[in-house]
């Protein structure tokens, strides 16, 4: 059974390239561009990994992360993407429980290597 990844990102072109790359890794890929819809998906598909953009319209990635923790859903692995590399963002993400924090722009090989590591594949 293939591992399941949910990409929560409002930039459709980043979603497209990431989906393509993860699909080639044999992963089941879902995508959402909105925080509220992402929570529903998490509860429904119970992903093994959530790739979460920190800056989303309406609700930030940090808010979504808190929602996941507050819900009864089993906590998936979380890889947070951000364009802001400030130490305080990284610290906040680590305090909330992010498994990995990556800043944009990242390389394909870098993100794929980290995702493989997180999922143990």
């Amino acid at each position: 059974m293939s591992k399941c990844v949910l990409i929560v990102e409002d930039e459709p072109n980043i979603v497209e390239s990431l989906s393509f790359l993860l699909g080639r890794e044999g992963l089941e890929v879902h995508a959402e561009n909105d925080g509220a819809a992402a929570m529903e998906q998490i509860e429904t598909i119970k992903p093994d990994l959530v790739i979460l953009d920190a800056m989303l319209p309406n609700r930030s990635g940090f808010d979504i992360l808190r929602d996941i923790q507050a819900s009864q859903t089993a906590m998936p692995m979380v890889l947070m993407l951000t364009a802001k590399g400030q130490p305080r963002d990284r610290q906040m993400a680590e305090e909330i429980g992010v498994d990995l924090f990556m800043t944009k722009p990242f390389s394909n090989s870098e993100i794929i290597t980290e995702i493989r590591r997180l999922l143990g594949i």
């Binding site: 393509f20 364009a83 722009p105």
Partner: protein, 442 residues
């Protein structure tokens, strides 16, 4: 102890006037040997003797006293403290000012310029960190770059891509490149605009200060109704950015309001008749004390005999919104003022005037009147906005105002700003002193 150099100033002034020691001594009714000791700073000079010398030299007393260059002194001390590693001879600063006033002024001017630039850089840094447009633009550009980098990498390294998918990736690169270009162009436009707005390294407050000093805080064209505010601002070339023009406009609006409410000739006449009593002036002109202070601080002119008065107005955060220093009472250009100024005490009892006699570290004394009040209209749902105003007058004017001035008690020891204040054991010190050898000064 800090050495008094009043004698050096007497000597310089005498030489300028072309008088001999003997002639000056006779004119001042003192012996030539005593004058000689004074001129070599071996005898203190004050009171009647100083007054007699000043009269004989036809110069104001303040030109000979130690506080004559207090603003310059403060700036030079602060400049020296900033380079405490340079072993600067701070004990010779008085001598530097007395003997080489031009060089001292240049040094202080360069220091002030450097401080202004530091302030401007700090403001720009703050702007770069917190500006929402910049944050949004940079986030957007990094996302564009991420998409381009990822997609182009896929196209370069993966051969077996379906033609339809390949076409979509090409479109992504095209689309993201265009968005990146647009975002970069928007940033360039933004920075060009910001650069046009800032116009130079001075902060808006510094530009306002310069503008007001240039006009000596007086705008006769508003007093006599010959010009309006927009005429003055249109002709003004010293105000290089929107913010400083807005500040100047705010000042001129108040000035014009005061001029309309307190016409200059009538105000000057009444002021002289009541010995510059703010209470009487407030009643006569139906004005609040803050307005009276503003008008009084701008009263002395070539054709109006009035004492010189300084003024500072601060908001509730302690930020100076108007500064009109006196030669002997410098107002800090950077950082906060002395917490002991009655100005701040006034905030604790709004609308209740405070009178005090102040004693500066150099020994100069000033009569001070302070009042705080809400500058917004009072009404339900209106948030108050408090400002405090402090008018200060050299204590030599005491005989003029003593008929109405309440008892001030003992002079309160104050400073200009904690950073350059030599009062070593002040219990209300808010910042560490940065002066070397401060304990020796008092």
């Amino acid at each position: 102890m800090r050495k008094s150099l009043a004698g050096t100033r007497v000597r310089e002034a005498r030489r300028k006037s072309g008088m001999t020691q003997k002639a000056l001594a006779e004119a001042a009714s003192i012996s030539a040997s005593y004058l000689n000791l004074i001129e070599h700073n071996r005898r203190a000079v004050a009171g009647k003797v100083l007054l007699g010398i000043a009269r004989a030299l036809s110069v104001p007393v303040t030109a000979l006293t130690d506080g004559a260059e207090s603003a310059l002194l403060g700036d030079l001390h602060e400049a020296a403290a900033h380079r405490s590693d340079a072993n600067i001879e701070t004990e010779s600063v008085d001598e530097l000012i007395s003997r080489y006033p031009g060089w001292a002024g240049l040094l202080a001017g360069l220091y002030r310029q450097s401080k202004d630039q530091e302030t401007a850089i700090a403001a720009l840094s703050d702007r770069l960190t917190h500006d929402p447009f910049l944050a949004e633009s940079l986030h957007s550009m990094l996302s564009n770059i991420t998409a381009i980098r990822s997609t182009s990498n896929i196209l370069k390294n993966i051969d077996d891509i379906e033609p339809e998918q390949q076409s979509r990736f090409h479109n992504i690169i095209h689309e993201e490149s265009r968005r990146l270009s647009d975002a970069a162009q928007a940033l360039v436009t933004y920075f060009n605009h910001a650069s046009d707005q800032s116009g130079g390294s001075a902060t808006p407050e510094e530009e306002l200060d310069r503008f007001l000093r240039q006009h000596e805080y007086i705008f006769p064209e508003l007093d006599n109704g010959e010009a309006d505010i927009s005429d003055i601002l249109t002709q003004e070339s010293m105000l290089n950015n929107t913010e400083s023009r807005e500040l100047a406009k705010g000042f001129l609006i108040l000035y014009a309001k005061d001029a309309a409410q307190m016409p200059l000739a009538a105000f000057a006449k009444t002021a002289k008749e009541c010995a510059f009593n703010p209470d009487i002036l407030a009643q006569q002109f139906d004005a609040d004390l803050a307005s009276i202070f503003r008008r009084l601080s701008g009263l002395k002119r070539p054709d109006i005999d009035a004492p010189e008065m300084g003024l500072i107005v601060v908001n509730a955060a302690g930020r100076a919104v108007l500064r009109r220093p006196l030669r002997n009472f410098a107002l800090p250009r950077h950082g906060n003022a002395c917490p002991r100024w009655p100005l701040f005490q006034a905030f604790t009892q709004p609308d209740r005037p405070i009178t005090a006699l102040l004693d500066l570290p150099g020994g100069q004394q000033f009569i001070c009147l302070a009042v705080a009040g809400d500058i917004r209209g009072k009404g339900f749902g209106t948030l108050p906005e408090y400002q405090a105003s402090m008018l200060f007058i050299a204590s030599e004017v005491l005989p003029v105002v003593k008929s109405w001035l309440p008892a001030t008690g003992t002079a309160q020891k104050i400073g200009i700003s904690c950073r350059i204040c030599p009062r070593a054991n002040c219990p209300v010190r808010a910042e560490p002193q940065i002066l070397a050898s401060v304990s020796e000064i008092l």
